[in-house]
Amino acid sequence: MGRLFLFYRLMLRPLLLEPVRALLTILAVTLGVAVVLAIELAGTAAAGSFRASMETLAGDNDLEIMASGGVPEAVVGTLTALPYSIRISPRIEDSAVIAVTQQTLPLLGLDLVAESSSWNRSESPSLGSAESFLPAEDAMHFLESPDSIWVGASLGKKPGDQVRLLINDQLREFTVRGVYPDSNGNESAIVMDLAAAQRALHRFGRVDRILLKVPEVPSIEEWRERLRAALPAGVEIRAQGSGTDENRRMLAAFRWNLRLLSYIALIVGAFLIYNTISVSVVRRRPETGIVRALGASRGAVLTAFIGEAAFFGLAGAAFGLPVGRVMASGAVKLMAATVESLYVSSRPGSIELNAWSVTLALVIGPGVAIVSAYSLAREASLVSPVEAMARGRREYMTRIHKSRDLWFALALGIAAVVAARVPPMGGKPVFGYFAAILLVVASALAIPAFADAILSRSSRWLGKILGVEALLASQSLSASLRRTSVLVGALSTAIAMMASVGIMVGSFRETVLLWMNDRLPADLYLRPAGAPAPDRHPTVSLELADKISKLPGVAGVDRLRAYEISYDGLPATLASVDLSALRSDHRSNFFSGRPTEQVLSQIRGADAVLVSEPFTYKHHVRAGGTITLRLGATRASFRIVDVYYDYGSERGTILMDRQTMLRYLPDPAPSNLAIYVTPHATSETVQEEITEASAGYRVLVASNRDLRTEAIRIFDRTFAITYALEAVAVIVAVMGVAGALLALVIDRRRELGLLRFLGASAGQVRKQILVEAGLLGLLANFAGLALGFALSLVLIYVINKQSFGWSIRFHWPVAVLLGAISVVYLATVLAGLYPAQVAVRLNPLEAVHEE
């Protein structure tokens, strides 16, 4: 109790005298903790609590049967014929767009006759409360009517309502026959009878999934083996809901990288705590000496300073919790948009501040504070009482080992280069992150030597150009080199993160732009209307494709078809191209560097495929190898002819000839059309012709340029969150500059007061502080750009490559970098305004007061 009181009196009460500085430190920790928490919460909501929308109304089942391109309906018969008591629920799973609201919802085809009879036997109803969903007895005949649908209550429809739905490229009228409750977390879906759904989708003779409920004995694993034996080779039997796990696995790298980015602000915050505690240690040296002479132990001094740091950490964490919760709602929108456009259609769950996230905040706040303050607290506790009590200039001469630290920096830099060459561990670029951390530490260690070299060389020269205030500013910075170094370290780390991510994203963007030139060779593209999603592949009517190919201005139509499949435990896209139509230039898009024509000729009609670059990283395959796919009822092996660059999606893609695909999956409807215009026609006139020809079909025709613009828009949106994270890190660093300059002003008030005695005007004092801020910003920008360049190499060639498998060409996004750096620089100088004002308001008489 007495100790706590002493701690308050000696450590906390002095903070009240400088509330602005104490608050800035707390705010820095608050933001650091808040960002980490926000990304954690938003990540969990956007991806972690992710449940595949197709699991809607899936009910309680044990196993599921899947096949790429659909399970032959005959499998249902096979299963029914087995002498087991298994509940078999075949499903069609697709999507439909409500015409009025443009809302995309899962479209489920269920065997309603069978299901309703099973409900009548009141056996584990899978559709929530059976009464509300069950068609009334007299409405049984609606079941098989092709325009009957059942919808979730959250849609606000009632039985008898008419609803217009866009299914594939067809708009049709349906009638609501019943409403089921979907409030308990289920996404609303549109339910039809299986046969009606097959008809609406033109998908005859197959279903998308068969759910199975098996008896309790023997084990599910046993059942799985037993049933597998009875099934054709192409179909897969696995635990129900595996798709959700697969999607979650796919999102892991995305989440992981964002999570790491979110720690940047906290790292920057650590520098600031270090600075705050270092100021406190220096200022309290005499007190420390006195207390030690009066009998306090080393441990007590150590505990006191660590306690001060922990106080900042705890206070920051306490504020960080609510701030993080608020930030999470913004972050979840950005993250959900990215997940939706790059990975899988899903809707974010709700944000929940649970015990784990509260613990996380309460651990990382004080944790990072204590870690960053430990060496200082130890140093303070080791000073002898006599030495500490000795007043005078010496107390400001904190020890600093420039050249020793420079050697350490060099060693760490070499270690970083080595770490960057180590392959990924468990699919994660663990050593890449390690290399990045080593580089940050190396740069922090090199900064004192760097700052000293620059400041001592430039001070006279600065004095000549900017006047005596600049000379004084630069001298004062080099006189407190340790403090200067910590500040430059914090700010440059933030700038480096910003620059490195900026360079990485800029390089990526440039790579994507170049790639799109080759990848999108056609003049016009056509797809079914409705929001696009990476895991939904609605189809275009075959007749429309034929009609368009006969238009006068059309030279050729490439019918592209895509299926969402599962490969080796991860979602993937299986696509086919129409090699007979494809016009391509002679640029290579392939790892082998061979011309496009040559590569494509090798897959024409053959059991051979091309795979995208991300696919090779996810599944450890390469050109020359083979992959086995389950297509419909058959299993077949395909030779990998080559690997192509693909920056369009992080999901792996397998590409084959349309003729090959049709042999296994005979559905001829294309998902997209790539249309080539004859040399005599313009793409505008052809676009008009196509629009006219597609009356009665709901399709969208986009020009090559539209598609590119859209792709870049999505790209930019994807990285919006990284920019937001960097901005917070920079804000934290700039706040640190303000706080530290404030401390600097307080500590140097004697000199500042003296200047007034010697004839300095208020403006000159202000200018000196602002020049100090400007110099700090300049040093930090130089150091930050150098570190940022090194980090960007690690990001591009190690971390990104190992987590996503993209080859990115290095590119300097000069304009973006210059813009960002100027903003940071301006902010740094502005951060000097308040401390400068404090300096001006100092009373010189008190400052120079002497006894």
Binding site: E751, F757, G759, V848, E850
Partner: protein, 225 residues
């Protein structure tokens, strides 16, 4: 005309709501070439008087005229200009900037005023305080007496009409202090400045043209020689 003229000047400070009369109706004129010692116990108001005379502070009542200008009529810029032109300060603990060389310390007031040829002026002043050749040293490489010489050279760099020294020998041993006082007195003559020196050493008082004795913020007596 007196270079500095205090006319029934009072200065009150509020300490815990209680007014402290640091100076109480003090009137004093100091002319060019005069070397005046302010003596009295600690807390009698010496520093307060010097600060008012140097336009670093304003009186609660009365007027302070520096070279004929009433300080209360000036704004901050005007006061700064006045200080630059007319006043040099010398401090008990020298108040040198440790990060600057001797030359840089001495030329600082000129640089702050934006005047040219600072280095030549600094060299000349350092010669007059007998520190030739030490200009490139840093303060911590000097003895206490040398540091105060630098302080004096700095105070004189602008050839001020008024030199204010607040216990300039307080941090020096007796012998060195006596040498510094001799120096100050000589420079007062040579530069024709009005020098006001706060001290509680009898030796200092003995050297002065006039001794002003303060007690509890009031002038007790003025002895002129």
């Amino acid at each position: 005309m007196a270079i500095v003229s205090l006319q029934t000047v009072s200065k009150d400070y509020l300490t815990d709501g209680q007014p402290v009369h640091a100076l109480d109706s003090v009137s004093l004129d100091v002319n060019r070439g005069e070397f005046v010692a302010l003596v009295g116990r600690s807390g009698c108001g010496k520093s307060t008087l010097l600060n008012l005379a140097g336009a670093m502070d304003f009186p609660t009542a009365g007027r302070v005229m520096i070279d004929g200008v009433d300080t209360s009529t000036l704004n901050d810029a005007g006061l700064t200009a006045l200080r630059r032109e007319k006043v040099g300060f010398i401090f008990q603990s020298f108040q040198l900037l440790h990060t600057l060389t001797v030359f840089e310390n001495v030329e600082l007031p000129l640089l702050l005023a934006g005047k040219p040829n600072a280095r030549a002026a600094a060299r000349e002043r350092l010669a007059s305080v007998e520190l030739d050749g030490l200009g490139d040293r840093y303060p911590h490489q000097l003895s206490g007496g040398q540091m105060q010489r630098v302080g004096i050279a700095r105070a004189l760099i602008q050839s001020p009409a008024l030199l204010l020294a607040d216990e300039p020998t307080g941090n020096l041993d007796t012998v060195t202090g006596a040498i510094i006082l001799e120096l100050l007195k000589r420079l007062t003559r040579e530069q024709n400045t009005a020098t006001l020196l706060a001290t509680h050493s009898a030796e200092a008082a003995a050297l002065a043209d006039a001794v002003v004795r303060l007690r509890d913020g009031k002038i007790e007596e003025i002895l002129r020689r």
